[in-house]
Amino acid sequence: MSSIFADISQSEALRRGRRMLPPVVRGLFWAAIGFFIVNTLVSEVLDRTPLAPYVTKVSVTFGWTAATCGWLLGVGAWELVVKPYFGSPVEWDVPNDWRRYFMMSLDHKVVGIQYMVTSVAGFFIAGLAAMLMRFELMQGNLWTFPTPNAYLSTVGIHGTIMMFSFGTVMLVGGFGNYLIPLMIGSNSSAFPRVSAISQWLLPVGIVTVALSPILGTWTTGWRGYAPLAEQDPNGIVFYYLGVFAMTTSSLLVSINLTATILFQRAKGLTWNRIPMYAWGILAASLLNIIWLPEIQMTFILALLNNIVPLPMFSQIGTPLTYMEVFWLFGHPEVYIVVVPAFALWQEILPVMGQKTLFARSWGVLGLVFVMMFSGLVWAHHMFTNMRNDQMLPFSFFTEMISIPTGFAFLVSLGTVWKSRLRLTTPTLLVFMSMFNFLIGGVTGVMLADPVINLQTHDTFFVVGHFHYTIIGAMVFSFMAAAYYWLPRFSGRMYNEFWGKVGAIWVFIAFNAVFGQFLLIGLRGMNRWVPVYPKYLQNMNFEISLFAFLLGLGFLFNLVYYIWVWRYGKRVDANPWSAKTLEWQSTSAPGETNFDPPVQVLMGFYDYSDERPVCKPTSPAEVS
């Protein structure tokens, strides 16, 4: 495959020397044109108001939409989607070098890497916001931010970008796009164009939310909740638009990955052989497909509420409606984040212990039941504002959902028992992730108790709890996966010493920060406050120091990771002796995974069986 690209670049066009515009530059340019034309049309012609500025809430909504379309067309959708749709031949030649990452691509591995990089960029942008927040919180008065609204916008930006561009995306759009087709023995995802478009929507969302304060500060936090949102300054419009872009991105990816897992599996990869990670991605994708449209409709109503206005959540509705529909999605959202992480434990541990996966069916059952129950528990976010008679049912379901959640522990612990555990960085990170999620789970059981919840709700106890589940479980598992698959991605191996330094550094700093979040919450520190009573200052100051250490820890891992990717020691294919299919192929981005296609002969997690897991199909069988 790669050779085709190389040939093209040597062809006649090269001699004629007409170079194409860099797609990203063209995308930015078309976006700017789109914005300028449509915004002018709306604010100066169609919806002209005297004395109003050039960019109004209404005009920016339409202008942004045009800009997003311009951007998508510019980075490649024009040649890859629009023109072929009308019958022209595709004229989109992806050079076989780094350039392929900066243009629309149909290769699932390229898309996966694009997603990972964008998502990590989102993580560090939002992390920077967190550092700014912790800086402000070192003192009980305003000193870093000029206004409380600036601080609150930062909280919102942090939460929004973390959740919608990292938590929901990294393991699904990133690792999912790269690995799922490989793991199920396919050469591509089901709808390559869908993933290509969805990847390029993600940076739009991140940038829109990150730049929202240019339009005006907003104070609602990551929920964007009405009725407060309807009186927020205009930045809130960018929140809705940005989140819309990011959720659309996740929705499209999920549709693609679901279809891929359902229909693209290799011969012999029967349902009871589907890899654990694919199960996790399937469960998370189904959650996305069920719940994202729901929240997107809500965001659209809230946006209309702001720009029309359409007082859906005050006069003609009720103020709680938004919260209800937000959490109806919001709780499944946390499972979207954490289910792939559970799957990673069950993917990595059998390999590292070289031992058959324990109670596999219970592991799958756990993932699927968590997925099915996740819609029954949302109102545990609303114990402080629900009717008394709603409390017990929601408390009940919330407590019960910890049973299938616990199966992830059952499977993982059973697998490592009497294994021959290689104490590698991924193993260590998975263990840390399990420890952290244990704390997240114990605090979760407490929060499910209404009487305790009434005290801890909206305090730093809750903030500590959900960072334990999200960073503690998802980010640590993500790091484990990143080190685990590093040899697959780059053909190079990290150094165990430095990998472990990175893991332990992050683990200690993380627990120091968020363990104390739990305590300071109980001590009376509530959420969304840049200004707080003096007695909380010492503890906040010290938490902030650890938070900076944590930020540096993530940075260290990033730098080390990139370094290994480029300069690390070369390593053979399949250094962990794993059985899953992604290790049976050495295809780099741009290359075909399985040529000829493979046939799967047995499950991937049985280490008592020494026979090969797959064999190439003979040409006759392909037909």
């Binding site: 090269l14 170079r19 515009l21 004229e91 350039r99 000029p146 309807e230």
Partner: protein, 211 residues
């Protein structure tokens, strides 16, 4: 890539696009975004210093109130000029006021003292004409000498001179700039003094009279 669509056999363009152009544009856009995000205010101020209201205003100065700020944030007047403030509340949801003064009155508060109003009221003893009052929530004349043209808004007592406008409200204040040169502030302290904290303030430079 099993379903790579049929491509044109020889491309008409060289796909090896320029890295320099890409890098330059990309970096410029990133820098522009960062500058816009963190130094928006400073840039706006510099702009108005050069082209806008930083230059001496005569006649009517339009002041827009929004959530939570004033536009413009800087005004320059000269002592002895006859000027008009045309105040308009552009917010759809909040009422806003406009005080002008110097220094602060502070009240002790649980999380540290808060500014409740300006200490020295610019309007003390100033003759001012209020006209075109529309949707005025309330008006406190304090020690100004006020002439009303047209509808007289609801007036009340307490605190500095301040008209408070309902969402969409507006009014004009016409007066001769009194001999109080120097730097003054304007601000809005409504909703338990929080609009000021939220950034709703600006500065006025009053130049001494031309000799």
């Amino acid at each position: 890539m099993s379903d790579t669509p049929a491509s044109r056999p020889t491309p008409r363009r060289n796909p090896e696009w320029s890295k320099t152009l890409f890098a330059v544009v990309f970096i410029l856009v990133v820098i522009a975004a960062i500058v816009a995000l963190f130094w928006q205010r400073q840039i706006g101020d510099a702009w108005s210093r050069m082209f806008g209201t930083e230059r001496v205003q005569t006649g009517t100065t339009h002041i827009e109130q929004y959530d939570y700020g004033f536009h413009p944030r800087h005004i320059t007047w000269r002592v002895g000029d006859k000027v008009t403030i045309s105040l308009h509340n552009a917010s759809a949801t909040h009422w806003h006021e406009m005080m002008i003064g110097r220094g602060f009155d502070d009240t002790p508060y649980v999380v540290g003292p808060v500014h409740t109003q300006f200490d020295q009221d610019f309007w003390d003893g100033v003759h001012v004409t209020m006209s075109h009052a529309f949707k005025v929530d309330n008006f406190v004349p304090n020690k100004a000498i006020v002439t009303f043209v047209g509808q007289k808004p609801f007036t009340t007592e307490g605190g500095n001179f301040s008209p408070t406008l309902e969402p969409g409200g507006s009014l004009d204040l016409t007066f001769t700039v009194p001999n109080k040169p120097g730097t003054w502030q304007y601000g809005c302290f409504v909703q338990q003094f929080m609009h000021y904290v939220a950034g709703m303030h600006g500065t006025i430079t009053i130049l001494p009279a031309k000799t």
